[in-house]
Symmetry: C2
């Protein structure tokens, strides 16, 4: 942990019930290397600083399953459990209620267990300096828009893939979440920009994948062994 | 290999000299799990069908290095070595000269060693049926256009990431490569579409990564162990 005295929070968002992967188990509870993904995600932040405050936003229907998993896996890292809402926006907004003014908060997807210590560290130190810090990676693949029989190549110059943690001074992000929900709010950076504020971007890395498919789970497993 | 009698070719494109990774070694020659990436790529196609014809397009300055690597790694898969050109377009065009009419040709990046047997198989059988077959994956991450202090979220509906092998009936792709080079020709599918023909897309997978960064090399290594 850096020498700074500012309080740090990780707000881990796992509000979904996981229907997308076609599995009974919500994706944040899928087992990778013997452990639910969500626990590995929380461990990454706890490893960065054991006095970091962790807020976990979960769908209320999953609270009891989470508690059983904690018992089963002897998971002892203390987290402040908060109820998820309808959309990611509502989940984050609920989570931010437990984050005090004057602190830093890293908002992170529960299904990105491969986040590196370097990214967590950069994210807090840059957010302290600039107010916000959002990791991005350049896009290597050709992108196409394919719909209803038409297909178009997308110009990928200046195109970046946005990851999490998206980290902010808590005053700034709490103010951003006072805005009414709109469907265009795909991530926390969007809310900041809608207020007319600049977001500071920094390099993420390709290992920091978001697990949304079975293939990704395999990738996380093998990365977890490295 | 399917029961079809049509001749099959793999055109492996490794025309670059690899300056982008900031390494003396061209990226197709980087070692992953004890072997140059390019050899693993060729092995994937040879494993699919040992009577598949393999055309390897390499920068002429790298021919002798390739031959030493083959000796060193006891690499015996027969390939038809062809000189690469200025841009990917010219490299593929040179490679296609060795591919006869009436066959199928899978054009594949030399730096995608993780291509699965399922993708290779689908690519040939769909190209036989539809004339073309190009693997795509959906985009999970939020995308942003960031330049000169402005940042915009990109709508990712109907947005897909395009992979290789891009496989075609040889008559179709050879006709496409009779068009003069233009900077908009980012991949083989673009050339087909410029002629007013439709391209058939099918599901690729997230493991089929293109190695363009050191992180990707690590990912290929761990995936190689799975």
């Amino acid at each position: 942990m850096s020498g700074s005295e500012i309080e740090k929070y990780a707000l881990i968002v796992a509000g979904g019930k996981g229907a997308r992967m076609g599995s009974e188990t919500p994706k944040q509870f899928l087992i990778s290397c013997g452990k639910p993904i969500l626990m590995k995600t929380i461990e990454a932040f706890h490893h960065y600083a054991d006095n970091l405050h962790i807020v976990l936003v979960l769908h209320p229907e999953l609270f009891s399953q989470w508690e059983s998993l904690c018992k089963e896996h002897l998971f002892k890292i203390p987290v402040n459990l908060v109820e998820g809402g309808q959309e990611r926006y509502h989940s984050v907004k609920n989570g931010l209620e437990g984050v005090p003014a004057g602190s830093l908060v890293a908002i992170h997807d529960g299904v990105r267990p491969m986040v590196s210590q370097r990214i967590i560290q950069d994210s807090f130190s840059l957010a302290e300096r600039f107010g916000s810090a959002v990791p991005v990676t350049s896009v290597n693949e050709t992108l196409r828009k394919i719909s209803e029989g038409t297909s178009l190549v997308i110009d990928r110059s200046f195109l970046f893939s946005v990851q999490t943690p998206q980290t902010f001074r808590s005053d700034l992000i709490k103010r951003a979440y006072q805005q009414e929900y709109r469907p265009g709010f795909t991530d926390d950076a969007s809310l900041i920009e809608t207020m007319g504020e600049k977001v500071h971007f920094f390099p993420g890395d390709n290992k920091n994948i978001k697990i949304t498919k079975q293939e990704d789970l395999l990738m996380a497993e093998v990365l977890g062994k490295s």
